[in-house]
Symmetry: C2
């Protein structure tokens, strides 16, 4: 089964609002470990003195998962990383023409030579090593094959494919991963930015094509609009095989982590966020509600119970239907005939046409119909009683 490398404490630290304190980093690492990620990636300890201190602290927390740190492909960064006690280093080098021209100005030959030197040093120090070609999808395919083949031969544990600008789509991902699967023997890690909306689908496509490790962040935070969100990726993989995903990961941790990280970086959990968003399991249309009330799978691919969250069914609006209203009446313990439910539904729609109404108002309308119904029965009983002078069933 595929593994998750969560990068909330590396890519996520590059989110514009992120400024995690060490206690926050520890809490996030512990939650991710509790959830069951396979790896946690940390910011380069060469970034600043506090980054080095934080990296050392997380690497020595005694987590069940492995710790990695992102480093530039040079001996100084890797030496510093090894000293923190992390299990592995994630090396990267830009191989696209954009990055070669504007970021570092190095040739492919230089990149290969440097990669070999640094990987050998890290492997000799007992480190797990990944080598990633930044901006893979705008790199020349021949360059990629040359670089990946070379690093595979010197014993790298994983190659990394990175869609640094978020431009790839699933078919391209499938083609590139499948083709590299025939070039290298090592594992394949993938990293997808979400600028053009494909970060979850690309991760799924990569796994189907043979990728072994997927980078995620809680809430998807990262540079620009971020990368594959942990919750989104898990939703996708759960849709394919719920049992396998439930077996490996502690799913109810996801909404918990989403809210913790949102608070730590001072943003709201998006209303439409996977699993933890306000509306993720909300249902409204009348047609939908009728079927939902009989079998929730009718309009749900994901079972909210598995993620520790609740379904919200809204019956208080103009698009409501009589089946939904009937169900609400039953929840209130009111036994109204179908014809009365239909009349109540008309009243609810008419009220909602004029202004926003609440569930309380729906309940009032239903109770009002129930009272009228009872009065009607009582009146009928009295009428009947005056004829026979005997008590009726409703009066007993």
């Amino acid at each position: 089964m595929w593994s998750i490398i969560d990068s909330t404490l590396r890519e996520g630290e590059q989110f514009i609002n992120a400024n995690f304190s060490l206690p926050q980093k520890k809490e996030i690492a512990l939650m991710l470990d509790n959830f069951g990620v396979d790896y946690i990636e940390l910011s380069n300890p060469a970034s600043s003195e506090q980054s080095r201190i934080d990296c050392t602290a997380i690497a020595n927390l005694g987590l069940g998962c492995k710790t990695l740190t992102h480093t530039r492909c040079n001996l100084e960064d890797v030496r510093l990383a090894i000293d923190t006690g992390v299990d592995g280093v994630d090396l990267l080098f830009g191989t696209s023409k954009y990055l070669r021209d504007y970021a570092h100005g190095k040739s492919i030959d230089y990149i290969i030579a440097k990669a070999k030197e640094v990987i050998s040093m890290a492997k000799n120090a007992g480190c797990e090593v990944r080598f990633s070609c930044e901006d893979s999808f705008r790199s020349d395919a021949e360059d990629l094959v040359r670089v990946y083949r070379a690093v595979d031969r010197v014993g790298v544990d994983r190659i990394g494919i990175a869609d640094t600008v978020g431009i790839a789509h699933p078919q391209q991902v499938s083609e590139l991963v499948s083709s590299l699967r025939t070039v290298v023997d090592c594992d394949i890690e993938v990293h997808f930015h979400n600028d053009t909306g494909c970060a979850v689908a690309n991760a799924h496509s990569a796994v189907q094509a043979g990728a072994t490790h997927v980078d995620t962040c809680v809430l998807g935070i990262g540079e620009r609009n971020g990368i594959t969100p942990l919750g989104g990726f898990i939703s996708r993989m759960y849709a394919d095989d719920p049992e396998a995903v439930k077996m490996k990961y502690n799913l109810p941790m996801i909404p918990h982590m989403d809210h913790y990280v949102a608070n730590a970086v001072d943003v709201q959990v998006p209303f439409n966020n996977y699993l933890s968003g306000y509306s993720a399991f909300s249902h409204k249309a009348g047609m939908h509600l009728k079927a939902m009330l009989q079998n929730s799978s009718t309009y749900e691919a994901l079972n909210p119970d598995d993620f520790g969250v609740s379904r919200v069914v809204n019956v208080a609006h103009r698009l409501t239907g009589w089946n939904a209203v009937k169900s609400r009446a039953e929840q209130l313990g009111l036994s109204l005939p179908d014809q009365t439910i239909r009349e109540a539904t008309k009243s609810i729609k008419a009220a909602a046409d004029v202004r926003h109404i609440t569930l309380d108002e729906v309940d009032l309308i239903l109770r009002d119909f129930d009272t009228r119904q009872m009065n009607k029965r009582t009146d009928e009983g009295r009428l009947h009683g005056s004829k026979s002078d005997l008590p009726t069933a409703t009066e007993c």
Copy 2:
């Protein structure tokens, strides 16, 4: 080129928070028309009296785009729809076992017979007609082919493929659309929910496989966590062919519509929303900034100028780099040697290690280094002056 059917005023009205007034609906319709969508889909006029009034009003606004209304597959709904003056009706019927068992209890033969009757009536009335199999991706493939072939033969304008529960992934979409492309002669519309994170990628995959019409909503609002967002879909298609997308659509309307609709349904635009989110064009890491300052395409697939939004470059944090700091010094008109910039960068990182710092503080640090630099020059000048008694260059 593919066409957009925007459903903010139908699917979007099924978003749990949505309760659009007629003036809001008119404003949204006018903005979508200004943006350049091909169709606007409206809620079923049979939903409520106000829905009928709203539908009639929008259908008669004199928009450049066509108007459609969603209707159940029955003669009463379609008659009511035709009376509102819309250009077309979007019929739907659930064909999956889930929907047949729990929503309506009808057989495929019944569905075909009913569809033929209703389509013929609508076509005779001069209406454009789409017929959609709800929950297509959990429907039996043979059932889909039977139904779509039958409706194509009676002259439907478009068939609709709907991923009602958001369970499809791009490869499945590609296979289904390609196969149906050989079954029907009419256009193919697609509708994707986003529960498992593939709504944008699925729409892209469908277009590549031969779909002609894509359903979107502003901000992606709809049942549960919604459908393909207009901004996300446009970002994806722009990445493939920016010129074609810029030619057909008025792109700067997207952030404007996102904010209007968010306000109307009382949610915040998600921080990571495509194009209009707070962080969509933010850049932070030191390595990224160096290259960004030379060529923004290095770390951007989308040009923010094309969408009427701005880039945000954050240099005030512990992951900053000296190239970014140098650029900020230049923006401030300070001419500092590289060695001084490196020292200033260290000071900025040290300050950011302790607490969150602002751009103002970065500027203060840079100005402080500049002052020290000038004082040093002045002191050196004085020293030199005391020796020679002649004014130095810095004193002139």
